[in-house]
Symmetry: C2
Subunit: 346 residues, 2 copies
Amino acid sequence: MEVTNRYITIKTSIDGAPKESDFEIKVAVLPLKVEPGTNTIIVKNLYVSIDPYQVNRIKSFSSSQTAINFTAGVTPGTAFDAYGVGKVVVSGNPEFEEGDLVVGFITWGDYTVVEPGVMLRKCDSMGLPLSYQVGILGFSGLTAYVGLFDICKPKKGEKMFVSAASGSVGNLVGQYAKLFGCYVVGSTGSNKKVALLKEKLGFDDAFNYKEETDLKATLKRYFPDGIDIYFDNVGAKMQEAEVANMKTFGRVVVCSLISEYTDAGKRAAMDMLDVVYKRIKIQGFLTPDHMSMYQDFLQKTYDHLHAGEIQVLEDISSRVENIPSAFIGLFRGDNIGKKIVQIAEE
Amino acid sequence: MEVTNRYITIKTSIDGAPKESDFEIKVAVLPLKVEPGTNTIIVKNLYVSIDPYQVNRIKSFSSSQTAINFTAGVTPGTAFDAYGVGKVVVSGNPEFEEGDLVVGFITWGDYTVVEPGVMLRKCDSMGLPLSYQVGILGFSGLTAYVGLFDICKPKKGEKMFVSAASGSVGNLVGQYAKLFGCYVVGSTGSNKKVALLKEKLGFDDAFNYKEETDLKATLKRYFPDGIDIYFDNVGAKMQEAEVANMKTFGRVVVCSLISEYTDAGKRAAMDMLDVVYKRIKIQGFLTPDHMSMYQDFLQKTYDHLHAGEIQVLEDISSRVENIPSAFIGLFRGDNIGKKIVQIAEE
């Protein structure tokens, strides 16, 4: 038996903002069988994660591609690997059976041939929607959790600013921080998103950065006494403005730099005198270094979900062919919450 | 009895590079007596420290001036306070007697009236030149020590880059790091200084940044496998180039920013993608937060000095009237090692 496997790839390296024409859908015939003893499995993909960091993998060069314990570059013509959920359709690995739900690194395509050594495990949805595995219970949630608790190390009552606050990671950082006892203000790119942050997610305050002309003054308005913690998802001008508004011993955790990913000319030039005289600490991190927090993260997040204390923001499109537009939309701020593409019905 | 007290001040705030004409010497008659019960003392100044950070105190605004646990701005017309050594000539404080040598905050002047609450203590030179109290055994040494051991937290064998490496702090950072077991390369501003670092101070290597056209490539040449620790005394372009050459989990300790102090337009715009993907930590610090290390620093430094394991680089001028030129010279790189002005004979 064989199936048609459609998967997304790039035609060539892309160094600016990605366009739909940069991508193509390849179609291949995939025999649904594996060689005995190879431990290979074939997975029918159900949901895949659409994340901004993928843009660094398709550049002609990015430090992301040589990063230790992280994803390499994507070679033009080959399938993108991406976090997601699928169902085993053929197994040559005694740890998996046909019909098992699995979560881990699959592809932006209909099917994934998963070789041994790829991060993939059986998935127990625990009565929650399967898509949660891709976002809130996947790397988006874990990134928010470890960035907040392992890097920022907040104290109750501290004042925190989150940029891209309605994004996949930002919305959860804000919610975890509120549950922990911080004062949280978020920035986002539309008035609808501002209302969402304040009314649905419980942020103390939020603003639409597109309506602000002087971000330094804006942050001063929201934090007249300064900011203890900045969870940075955007970089660029917002980072500059934020550093100018930090309190002494403030911490900047740099999670993502979506404003800079597609335009290196937007790099921040923060005032390092503030960094010295306010003893600011700025730290980048990558979630795979913090997998020891995974069980703790999962337990706490399940508990919050079951108690109705945390809201799940998902933005789900359908079908393989819509992956490029879903991905490109991230850089326009189209998504509200976690962007996911559903590849097939469960 | 009364004396003539000459002291240095500024005519008005100075926001660019300071010039000699920005300063003036005021002359006042100082009666050598103190009111009983005030705990005030009068000190005849002997050696005063000349430090780049003073430039931030004379600007119309700098975050240095509002920094917690640090020096405030200098008001035009008033005396500069500065670290130094002097001799008590009149004491209204039972803890001090006439003739005591003291070290702490005195002034860029002939005499200092020291009010209670000012950081000043009796000085035991322990058989070493008194000028050492101002540099290697004063805040320059302590800054190097706490910046290296409390912020950088080096491991033996790590590769370290120090900028302004023949400056008051940089030369000691490099020497402490070598004694600790790091591989150390320094940048400095003349070939004479390069030779000094390599031949006298034991740096593994050094270069003259003024002869380099592509600092990123320069650092790649000196650190083909990357830099673990950057002790930053200059900021600006060197900081950008350094971040591009960091290893994964590298640390940047920002001690001083002499290139940016007199020209905010030179601010660094480092590639924050490197900060994320290499998990870089960047941290500013101020020495007064780390006074708990003082005894440890002093003991270790005395031991190194007595064992002849550490070289003392002092650059001493004479007389109050030469303070402005000594200070301005810091920003031209005139000094080699710790800049000190001797005000009077011991």
